[in-house]
Amino acid sequence: MDYFIELFLGGLTRGSIYALIALGYTMVYGIIQLINFAHGEIYMIGAFVALIVAGVCTIYGFTGVSVLIIAAVAAVIYASAYGYTLEKIAYRPLRGAPRLSPLISAIGMSIFLQNYVLLAQTPDFLPFPSLIPDFEFMEPVAHIIGSPELVILITTFVTMILLTLLIKKTKVGKAMRATQQDMNMARLVGVNVDRVISLTFVIGSALAAIGGVLVASYIGQVNFYIGFLAGVKAFTAAVLGGIGSIPGAVLGGLVLGWTESFAAGYISSDYEDVFAFGLLVLILILRPAGLLGKSRKQKV
């Protein structure tokens, strides 16, 4: 039973990270129907910024959780700026162009950002300090769940609640929903749609950066390519849950995390990806729009 719980919590941790990154894909897709292939790179840049800032903090004598918090805040700010700029230079000029053009622009930005980090840093894996300390109170349950997992779970959980409140309750959240449901109508009631789109990129990037910091600290290494792998998984989660749907991204992330965790635990870790993508294929056959996705009726 302990083994099952361990796998369950491991899958939950993994899944919540997928969900965090998947939210960025799904929110952007919901508003401008673009798959932002450079989203994974934002996650990777977040991790690198945290690495650099954590190093600087350590030199100046900061210790413990304060380093994690400073590094995470810096990563969020930096990644948000990247997301904002990305939209401005790579996607906004192509608004109104055929849908393939921004998609290609997204792939281009992804390759560009990877190579930029490759040149600015190194192709090798860099060690990432484990910024999450081992809490004493976690010792009795350490064989089931470790401190890093706990921090990841709490952080993602709190972040998602804040995001939900933002979208449901605030004025900008309503503007985002209105823009997603009918962009021109949102314009007609006075929503500055450009600003809403920028904000969506900023929020998505901030979430990706949080994910990047947590994962890098958990796994203990980073390089320029981690964003691609995380991006593919998170994108899968978004599609699994129904791209464009925010609860769908969370559900898709968790389902994917559990599938991988149980497949690795009970069968073989060599096959975890097979099960993950097998599940994706199965769900898309049964529900082409994803678990919570709506097949949009096109009005002509």
């Binding site: 209105a178 449901q181 021109n184 314009r187 007609l188 006075g190 500055n192 009005k299």
Partner: protein
Amino acid sequence: MLKIKNIQTFYGNIQALKDVTIDIHEGEIVTLIGANGAGKSTTLMSICGITPPRAGEILLDGDPIQNLSPEKIVQRGIVQVPEGRRIFPDMTVVENLEMGAFLRNNKPQVQQDLNYVMTLFPILEKRRNQLGGTLSGGEQQMLAISRALMARPRVLLLDEPSLGLAPLIIKQIFEIIKQINKESNTTIFLVEQNANQALKLADRGYVMENGRITLVDSADSLLANDDVRKAYLGI
């Protein structure tokens, strides 16, 4: 108050509006009638800045507004109820109404207006927490008009409010349009295919064909005009 002067609007290379000139005075109800594809909706979208004209001028109280962004135009008091109602389907009735007041910050006043539109259309009160997409066509039209009123428009642009509705509901909606015009002196620019009803309601009318204005007159004279009767009234 709202002057449209010789505007030319294009979709890509296709010219949808050719030299359109329309003059709307404060407190008037003006209607624009014409067949499908004549350019009526494009006229409204040009006024609202969604498809800005390539040439010509749109003046509000003498100020050019043709280059302003849609949200600036809403802020100036020009608010549209678009064709097909365009209710936000996954928002509740109340949220839709709040979106109408998006640019207003005076909360007590917005609340007051919310109560006002609910007395105007009591059915909205009953449906207040229902999602917009689940309303019937007539209810959606009432919600769309109410949403526009939440912005406290000076000029209300209505695009085919009678489209697809039962005669009884059309009558009710036209009554309310008249009431809005009288009670708060809101200027109304009504685009309609239902020429008979529209001309009965309006003070003046414009007839549009293939992107051009072909006739301008008082509503009564247009109703009596032989060409109009043949082409649009089916008499």
